[in-house]
């Protein structure tokens, strides 16, 4: 009972902090929007050509936007000592990591998923692509948050961890990117895309089990200095 109450308290606290600093929440969304709106200007406004590259652009944009927002996952908790308090809770740290990951997804992955169809319109995404786009984002972005929590946990104590984190976790992001973008392409071509989505779901299930364990261990290493 106490375990759930301290997890709940952390969840409520972070939601409240996010609400107080609403501006920060817009950063990944703005980045996502900028990527999608600059491509037609830089490449070509031709809808046919844009429709061809739209799945890739949207997914790369979503992936990079998530990557940018990962830095903040544990940073403020590390700086003000909350992280020590969290690790010193009797409950396993991985439960708290799961809460933080869920919050990260709610604040980055979910808004990106909801905004993606709009960007699809801007990039002239063919009609068949919308459903797999939203579904692949819905299954893929939680995986990005989970994998990202490992990188964020490992680099939270470093002053110059900026470049290290993408190097650490981008390789793990690649399967998500490949299967997600190709599921959208399959949808556009009128082919079945459930296979791609099944892979994304399997990857999500695997990471849901493994990533919090790795991330909790990474945080303990970071805090041990």
């Amino acid at each position: 009972m106490f375990a759930s109450s301290s997890l709940m308290a952390l969840f409520k606290r972070d939601l409240l902090i996010a609400f107080r600093n609403r501006g920060e929440l817009l950063n990944p969304l703005m980045f996502f929007l900028m990527v999608a709106s600059l491509f037609p200007l830089a490449v070509t406004p031709d809808p046919k050509f844009l429709g061809l590259i739209a799945p890739g652009i949207i997914w790369v944009g979503a992936l990079l936007a998530t990557l940018l927002s990962l830095d903040l996952m544990f940073k403020s908790d590390y700086d003000d000592g909350s992280l020590e308090q969290i690790i010193l809770q009797p409950q396993p740290t991985l439960l708290f990591v799961l809460v933080k990951t869920l919050l990260h997804w709610l604040m980055a992955g979910l808004p990106l998923t909801l905004m993606a169809p709009l960007l699809g319109v801007m990039l002239a995404l063919p009609e068949g692509g919308y459903v797999p786009l939203v579904l692949s984002l819905l299954l893929g972005t939680p995986t990005l948050s989970l994998l990202g929590s490992i990188g964020a946990g490992l680099t939270v104590g470093l002053k110059k961890g900026g470049m290290l984190m993408p190097l650490l976790i981008l390789p793990l992001y690649i399967p998500v990117l490949i299967f997600a973008a190709s599921s959208v392409q399959a949808g556009i071509d009128g082919n079945a895309y459930t296979g791609h989505l099944a892979f994304l779901g399997a990857y999500l299930a695997l990471m849901l089990v493994l990533a919090p364990v790795a991330s909790a261990a990474a945080l303990k290493i970071s805090i041990a200095r």
């Binding site: 106490f2 109450s5 301290s6 709940m8 308290a9 952390l10 409520k12 606290r13 409240l16 902090i17 107080r20 600093n21 403020s76 908790d77 700086d79 003000d80 000592g81 909350s82 020590e84 308090q85 690790i87 010193l88 809770q89 009797p90 303990k220 805090i223 041990a224 200095r225």
Partner: protein, 230 residues
Amino acid sequence: MSHLDKQKADNALPSLLSGQDLYCERDDRVLFDGLSFDWHKGQIVRISGANGSGKSTLIRILLGLSASYEGQLFFSGRPMKHATYDFRNALLYLGHQVGIKTSLSPEENLNWLCPQANRSEVYQALEKVGLKGFEDVLASGLSAGQQRRVALARLYLEDKTIWILDEPFTAIDKDGVAQLEQRIIEHAQAGGLVILTTHHQLAVDVEEVALGEFTSSVHATKHHETGEAQ
């Protein structure tokens, strides 16, 4: 009630927190060697030493946040490895950084630090640390001392046996120091164990652990020879 029962049961045990032959070095400098201690309920332990003598390092080792040491730690007679859950359940720790979020009010901060406390308890605790009327002010608008006082309110809210306080008197004014000292003494008298680092001289007898002499001089240690290890 159950807390009192537990306390009675624990009193039968040899010691609440003990260490054997602790050794730690940092950057090729030995911070302590052959450090042993036996701390019981009702004790106040003051870890003293010059800056850089390893006070905070010892605290982090006790907490289990740092594993760069040799030797063994015991909680109620059990090796710390097997007693981490119980130890953390009984632990209240305040460090240099106290985990106060500046974009939250003192009340909201305490709501997450002590989720089991209800609203009136939080208000009472804040009143006791001199923050009456500041309950709804964002912590970013409070001074450094006031922010620390928010964290100190936990000492009135939580029912934990072991307090580990790293420099608790930092940034606290004279009245606050006296009050905090009083609270620490009360806790020890009620059967708690307080471990703190501070340069402040407390008004009561405390167990002294002096670091920085390369070897330790721990008065409580009777069975263990210190000083030979080097």
